[in-house]
Symmetry: C2
Subunit: 420 residues, 2 copies
């Protein structure tokens, strides 16, 4: 008899890649095809076209065979020149790394310091831009959801801050961990370049990333001086599939994306955003319920700033977050994210985005709760029970009867349950 | 009754992507996983390690989520600075485009002109380098097999030319259409950077590309001045999976590559090269047999310079190569490549690399032959018959009996067939 054999499936709650629906895997499980032949050209054109409503833009979408980091570089290299200054509001490891990338491309990076526990402060951005009377700042680079800290910044409010300061800078937004999870409205919110990737809200394997580009950013790209070829919008601005993809198209991922877009439109972006709000609220309910000063607690201190796609949980002083991750993976088959950079060892992360439903979230929370119990972390109360109750109470279309049942259970009697 | 319904499978003979073995599709048909967890880290390390023997190098392999063009840029951006001069022997559209990419990154490109029908001339390279007494030329950029023209250049001979000229330049070689098809010996042939990709000899979907890097090139990268982040070797030189892959790892393609490498090692690189020689010889036999001055003919005029992975066939004056491609695809379900750049409309291409056997080649050649007949192209004789005969005669391990049968058939008698 051996206990090392695992049965059942893994609960993948890393903050990307996310769970890939069977439909998408099936769409990708096919032979290679001639990527210049009409059938594939038609499909790839439809993918380019249908990514626009996902970003809610009428702008131009470029698709790269790359990780999200590739699209980060594309956003910078096409809009900036060496020596240009950018303003990076610090949200966590991802704002820091995107800024480092800009610096490595010769851009002067000014960071608006943050403590990694709060979203960006639009007022601070407005103040800094108002000071910049010579308009030396060429771009504001915002990470919508910083996957390291799990804070979600107010993209529209930052746009208003730029406008109030009457500043002409470009507005670049990383939506890798928010696209097709949280509400995102590129055109309405005046975003000039939105960066996205395949492996989070889009439910596909990693390997494809996007830049959605406004007319203003396209114009800026004509004079941008960072050397580029693979990332170059000007070279990719065509309907020819070989040039558009800069080489052989990532055929299988394009088929995957086609299926993902169909699934996204079937559900609807608003419904997707609402589902992410509900499921993330369940996760937050669990953490709130576990929380004790000597136990686990939220990294993001402000409830309204907590991301709908990922949650970062701080561990007690004597417990390495990596230990939580390892234990959950090995003994409960729940895959979590680790603490990054200055949160390394001090946190773990639960991803909750993409193809996800209530029992998946409950199972994962149960695995985490059991792990924390095993590791001797004091818990104020059962988070998985609280999350389950929350999900019962908020079942869309069943609000009234659930509420009645909840009231009945809370009173410890079933005699008073009424239909109305 | 409708005749537009297609049955049977497509014969994919584009020169990349190539046919993906079922084993590789199955290896990729799996849920996403935590790419930082031990299981995947082990697999990805093994892929990095096992790519080395495929390049036949002890150097360093970098893997990119990108098309082959991405690895082209990585090879240039890590070894050169703006203003540096490179020598590009012209072999066809791919040498031209790689050169154009270098130019767009600020490199001064000197082309050694070629007529697109011959491989490079090592003597011309030697002469040019010998002239360059100030060593202004920083690198020679060679395309091993130019997929547009289907010429195969002698990588070892170019190395000898560089050595004879006693020139310290770097030697960059594009092996995208030769790796795991033709013989390639990076270290023995003194190649400093070899560029490869997943979708040809490696039998995987497109989306991953490689640079294999010598110590000399690694040293050069320390002072190379082209700005880079995603492609930067220095930033990727680590065992940390997040940094090594510059973001989220292309998990599914890494699983595919693991399976592909297993298959490559099972067959053996020498056997793979021999198989490609035999199958390409069958294709060449067919074209030779079809050839007429007023019909189709080889683009590559020198038999010894014809690639083992792809063949470019010139069409008669009055026939657009795209018409051959369209007809073969629509009526015989054979996917071919088209003529590129100055061969546009004047040629079509048969890819014959990767997961391929004799009946696949015969079927494809039959489809092409039937297409040419339908389009009224005069053929000297049946190429598919000649190719079939060639494949019968060269069946590995059966040379003697086949030869006896061939002799017997040639004589039109079976009485004289002997066992010995």
């Amino acid at each position: 008899m051996t206990t090392s054999i695992k049965r059942g499936r893994n609960f993948l709650h890393t903050p990307g890649p996310t769970n890939i629906p069977e439909r998408i895997l099936r769409a990708m499980n096919r032979p290679a095809v001639d990527f210049m032949a009409p059938e594939f050209v038609t499909i790839s054109r439809s993918v380019f076209a249908d990514l626009k409503p996902v970003f809610r833009t009428e702008g131009t979408v470029f698709l790269y065979s790359s990780s999200g980091h590739g699209a980060w570089e594309a956003a910078l290299a096409n809009t900036l020149s060496p020596g240009d200054k950018v303003l990076v509001p610090e949200t966590g490891n991802f704002s820091t790394n995107w800024g480092k990338m800009a610096a490595s491309l010769g851009v002067e990076v000014e960071t608006l310091p943050g403590d990694w526990r709060r979203a960006v402060d639009p007022a601070a951005i407005e103040a800094r831009l108002a000071e910049d009377s010579n308009h030396e700042i060429r771009a504001v680079m915002l990470v919508h959801v910083d996957t390291a800290t799990a804070t979600s910044s107010d993209v529209a409010a930052v746009r208003r801050a730029i406008d109030t300061a009457n500043h002409p800078c470009l507005y670049l937004v990383d939506t890798i961990a928010s696209l097709a999870c949280a509400e995102f409205r590129m055109d309405e919110w005046g975003v000039d370049v939105a960066v996205g990737a395949s492996q989070k809200g889009l439910m596909c394997p990693p390997g494809v990333a996007f830049t959605a580009v406004s007319d203003k950013a396209m114009k800026a790209s004509q004079s941008a001086g960072i050397s580029r070829s693979y990332w170059n919008w000007a070279e990719r601005f065509t309907e020819n599939n070989y040039i558009r993809f800069c080489g052989t198209a990532p055929i299988h991922l394009v088929y995957g994306l086609r299926e993902a877009l169909d699934m996204i439109f079937e559900e609807g972006l608003d419904a997707i955003a609402a589902r992410h709000v509900r499921l993330s609220s369940a996760v937050h309910k669990a953490i709130e319920t576990w929380s004790r000063p000597d136990g686990v607690r939220f990294n993001a201190v402000e409830p309204a700033e907590r991301a709908v796609s990922v949650t970062t949980i701080l561990t007690p002083e004597n417990l390495d977050g990596e230990e939580v991750r390892r234990f959950a993976r090995e003994h409960f088959d729940v895959s979590l994210g680790g603490g990054l950079a200055k949160l390394q060892g001090k946190a773990f992360r639960i991803g909750h985005m993409g193809d996800l439903n209530a029992p998946m979230v409950i199972g994962a929370l149960g695995g985490v709760e059991a792990t924390l119990m095993q590791l001797g972390v004091p818990l104020a109360d059962s988070g998985v029970a609280a999350a389950t109750r929350y999900l019962a109470d908020t079942l869309p279309g069943h609000e009234r009867s659930n509420a009645a049942f909840s009231r009945a259970t809370a009173r410890g009697t079933s005699a008073s349950v009424t239909a109305a």
